[in-house]
């Protein structure tokens, strides 16, 4: 099996590698894994609370080239989108963009899971913060 040019490009020059403070109120963290190959992927987003736009995204993936490329691409795609728009990203779009072979489809699934997990974490923080705001307003 050989990697597509786009996978190799993301693998050699991964975009947005790094981490954010996962305790940050505007930060959502998704940590997901693919047990079949032992990959683990962390994707973090920083969301503007006024606009719900994802202003920054970072990732760190331990896994094969396709997993790294899928998560690198995922950070590129979510940046500038609203949270709801980001939730519309499908793994099949990642497969198409990176020309992933069937045996690597699970890497794209992992990237979609990571986006959803990060947004889920951010939403949970928003929910948790709400009652306090209401109380503060009273």
């Amino acid at each position: 099996m050989s990697y597509s040019d786009k996978v190799i490009d993301h693998y050699n020059r991964p975009r947005n590698v790094g981490s954010m403070d996962k305790k940050g109120a505007d930060v959502g963290t998704g940590l997901v894994g693919a047990p079949e190959c032992g990959d683990v992927m962390k994707l973090q987003i920083r969301v503007n609370p006024q606009t719900n736009i994802i202003e920054d995204a970072k990732f760190k993936t331990f896994g094969c080239g396709s997993a790294i490329a899928s998560s690198s691409l995922a950070t590129e795609w979510v940046k500038g989108k609203t949270v709801d728009q980001a939730l519309e990203i499908k793994n099949t779009e990642i497969v198409k963009e990176l020309a992933l072979p069937p045996v690597k489809i699970h890497c794209s699934v992992l990237a979609e899971d990571a986006i959803r997990a990060a947004i889920g974490d951010w939403k949970k923080k928003q929910e948790a913060a709400k009652p306090a705001e209401v109380q503060a307003a009273q």
């Binding site: 079949e36 683990v40 760190k60």
Partner: protein, 244 residues
């Protein structure tokens, strides 16, 4: 092929016409064309996981000798081809069944447990419903895997630069011990499920309650294997990083 009983696959001998066994005619002893049976059936074993590996080995060597292509040097072309095909299946079957993990993974596939397919469907469900997908392994294990991978990356970097950090080495050494312990515990957990599975196979009941019980046993085995995959990969990576 899953679900195929040996009876279905063993009609009459191509040479003498009487009923035959899987590999050789029980009457005239001629080698038979390979039939699509699962590896358990290939060895004449029930689909159980507590397997007598000594017996497996004996069967393997006995069959290897009888199926060896050299034995068929003077035989008809079709017999030579069949003996070759049977030998290759024998090797695959032996390699799969003798290893406890491969054997379990093979059984799960035979019983229709498809990890990747399940994961994909769970993602599609999460997309459709907006609910969060449950990860196949507990979050704290994922955290541990991630953290240790970070340490290993640091160690590789330090080695490249010719630096030495005893504290980091000690931490990784500790993690290694804990992983090996975990690996052993997971194997025991798996073996406990094997016994439950074997008991269910012995009972052979086809009522729906039993079927769903069996499914639960298979799911628990999958769960153990998922966690074990991470642990196994980490042990390998730790050893590589320490030795390099």
């Amino acid at each position: 092929m899953p679900g195929q009983a040996p009876g279905d696959a063993t009609p009459s001998c191509w040479s003498c016409g009487t009923m035959r066994a899987v590999h050789f005619c029980s009457s005239c002893g001629k080698v038979q064309p390979p039939v699509p049976v699962d590896y358990f059936t290939f060895f004449g074993f029930p689909r159980k996981l507590n397997l007598d590996t000594a017996e497996l080995e004996r069967e393997f060597y006995a069959l290897s000798r009888r199926l060896h292509p050299d034995v068929f040097g003077q035989a008809e072309t079709q017999e030579r081809t069949w003996s070759l095909e049977q030998s290759s299946m024998l090797n695959d079957a032996y390699r799969t069944l003798k290893d406890p993990i491969k054997r379990t993974e093979y059984l799960l596939r035979l019983e229709g447990v498809e990890l990747e397919e399940q994961s994909k469907q769970a993602t599609e469900k999460a997309r459709a419903t907006g609910e969060l997908k449950k990860q196949a392994v507990p979050p704290d294990l994922l955290e541990e895997v991630f953290e240790l991978n970070m340490h290993l990356e640091e160690l590789r970097m330090q080695k490249k630069m010719g630096e030495d950090d005893p504290a980091l080495l000690e931490e990784i050494g500790k993690a290694k011990l804990s992983l090996e312990e975990k690996n052993g515990a997971l194997l025991n957990e798996l073996k406990a499920e094997w016994s439950k599975w074997d008991k269910a196979v012995e009972e052979r009941s086809e009522d729906n309650g039993t079927k769903s019980d069996r499914r639960k046993i298979l799911d628990r085995m999958l769960d153990v294997l998922n966690r074990r995959n991470y642990v196994r990969n980490l042990v390998r990576d730790v050893n590589e990083a320490l030795e390099s």
